[in-house]
């Protein structure tokens, strides 16, 4: 490779890119993903994190949180059942959904995700069923792998988006994962918190609100950091401008992270926390979580259609990242034919 680089004649390739592409024709194709996918990413995150919280509550929360754990298992089942339906509905040849399990490719987050989803679904189902028929011990065992899968459910979708050539998704893989993860945790906590309010267990709700508060704080931090990275990589525009910009800035950041942070912080500071603020915070988290997924997905599709963004992105060397990670992956080619 090195010696190649020496013999290679740069020719016109070294001329700086000044914004002229090929008649403004997109150099990439946008993903065919739409509301089903963003809806799934949201559900997967909420359910996965709920399963984690439920397990944590069951193992460490003591008797006071047993009901919380059961609620969590119900929330997990939403993702375990609705999720696959959304995904299959998103296939263009749904009758072949089962080919998702034909092979395993560690280079493909969608392949990885298929197995995570299967595991999550299976263990969540067993756990919930065991819980209903009163086999508490079984549930206590099976909830652990379910929770581990839940962690995957919360974040693999970020890897799925960033492991594409869509500039906006590819620009900040790590930060996107942090945002999806923290937002997922916040959503799980918010959903359970609402449940606790309805069941009249304000104490548990407040604890869950604290979890949500911390998660939102992480989310907020990550979103601000990623914004800087997007700017640096010339891919920020779709996420800043127009309706999508509003959905992202107001929906995802202000509502999704800001409001809950404020509400729960206020509550945390009061001796008698306000149920209204708690509910408001929780609803904001859920709404924001949905807004975040929608904004990221749609803005990504739009950024793929903006050739100038991509050409600039593909000239700035984020390749340092890729070069360093080379060691992680072997050649996927059957054989190496050239030095």
């Amino acid at each position: 490779m090195q010696q190649d680089l020496q013999t290679h004649k740069p020719g016109a390739a070294d001329r700086p890119y000044q914004g002229v592409g090929y008649y403004g024709q997109p150099a990439l194709k946008a993903s065919p993903f739409g509301w089903k996918t963003s809806g799934y990413i949201f559900l997967a995150g909420m359910s996965g994190s709920a399963q984690i919280l439920g397990t944590a509550a069951d193992l460490f929360g003591g008797p006071g949180m047993e009901k919380t754990a059961r609620n969590a298992r119900h929330v997990a089942m939403i993702g375990a059942t609705l999720g696959p339906l959304l995904l299959i509905g998103d296939l263009h040849t749904p009758s072949r959904w089962y080919n998702m399990l034909r092979i395993f490719r560690r280079t493909s987050p969608m392949s990885i995700g298929s197995y995570i989803l299967s595991g999550f679904g299976a263990f969540s189902a067993v756990t919930a069923a065991a819980d209903w028929i009163g086999m508490k011990r079984v549930a206590r065992v099976t909830q652990v792998p379910a929770a581990l899968a839940g962690a995957g459910m919360s974040v693999y979708t970020a890897a799925l988006l960033s492991s594409t050539s869509t500039p906006l998704w590819a620009a900040a893989p790590r930060l996107l994962a942090v945002r999806f993860g923290s937002s997922a945790m916040a959503c799980g906590a918010a959903a359970l918190s609402l449940g606790e309010r309805i069941d009249g267990r304000p104490g548990n709700a407040e604890r869950l609100d604290r979890v949500a508060m911390v998660a939102s704080a992480v989310d907020l931090a990550a979103s601000l950091a990623s914004r800087r990275e997007y700017e640096a990589d010339h891919v920020a525009a779709p996420l800043e401008q127009g309706a999508l910009g509003a959905v992202h800035k107001i929906g995802a950041i202000a509502v999704g992270a800001g409001i809950p942070l404020v509400c729960h912080a206020i509550n945390a500071g009061r001796r008698r926390p306000s149920a209204a603020l708690s509910v408001l915070g929780s609803l904001a988290v859920l709404a924001g979580g949905m807004a975040l997924r929608t904004a990221i997905l749609r803005a990504g599709n739009r950024s793929a259609e903006r050739p100038a963004d991509y050409f600039r992105f593909a000239r700035t060397p984020p390749n340092t990242l890729n070069e360093r990670k080379r060691t992680l992956l072997p050649d996927t080619a059957a054989r190496r034919v050239l030095p």
Partner: protein
Amino acid sequence: MGAVKDIPARAVPKRALDYAEPILPGMIPDESELTAGVTIVPGRSYGFFTDTTLCIGCKACEVACKEWNALPADDVGLKGTSYDNTGRLSANSWRHVAFVEKIGGDLDAGEGRGTERNTTTMPPFQSNWLMMSDVCKHCHNAPCLEACPTGSLFRTEFDTVVVQQDICNGCGYCVPACPFGVVDLNVADGKAHKCTLCYDRLKGGLEPACAKSCPTDSIQFGELPDLVERARERVDSLHERGATDAYLYGAPGSPGATGDLGHLNAFFLLTDRPETYGLPSAPTRASNRVAPALGTGLATMAGLTMVAVALFAANRRS
């Protein structure tokens, strides 16, 4: 067909005389030996070297491809982009000839460009009207293949990348994975489509349809190591003859073969910035981002779980 370097040998090979009958009982075995000077053997690496300095923009490649693969017409209409009425590669167009008019000078010259037509004193070799036949790059580390969860996209015994139509379930993940915008979903049949480098023809010892038809051998099919050597010699000779803009795109160590993609089995000789042809200078391998994303994500989840555990445990004590 034959390499640019051995034009005299471009004459009809002796073996053609074994088939001097006007009517043949069947196809000529290993026809690629006659048309490309290549014997196609499973287990070896094959690809395209597309030399734009020989392209006359006739689009025979587009037609030959559609006729062989029975692809329907696509997005029909006058586009006003020079003589390009195809626009881009798609599920139904696996070859696309790009046309860029530079008669008025460099497209980036800005104000005042085009007022003076420098068409008469032309830099040697196709230069003032760029034509380039684009195609799937059949990357060495192909992001579409790595992204495909079903194994429909796979690497053939000829080291090419193909979508297996009996497996594809139309998840569409290969579409955003491709760093060149090649793979495309056909909503009509719900499958992903792209150039197969004529997988069926290779199995029968036939040169891919586009390369076989190419009148000027701008599209050259062959074994990868030979093609790369041939291409490097071509660049050298062009530079000697004053075409110092010429460079390879997608050959090892060149633009296009970046970001851990490895080389591209379908690579090009260009005379202007990659972007002018709609190609990225430094595309990257998408799967390199799986580990960072997944790792960071799980770490985040671990951290937040600790927080939750702490809070719940605290509750228990009180």
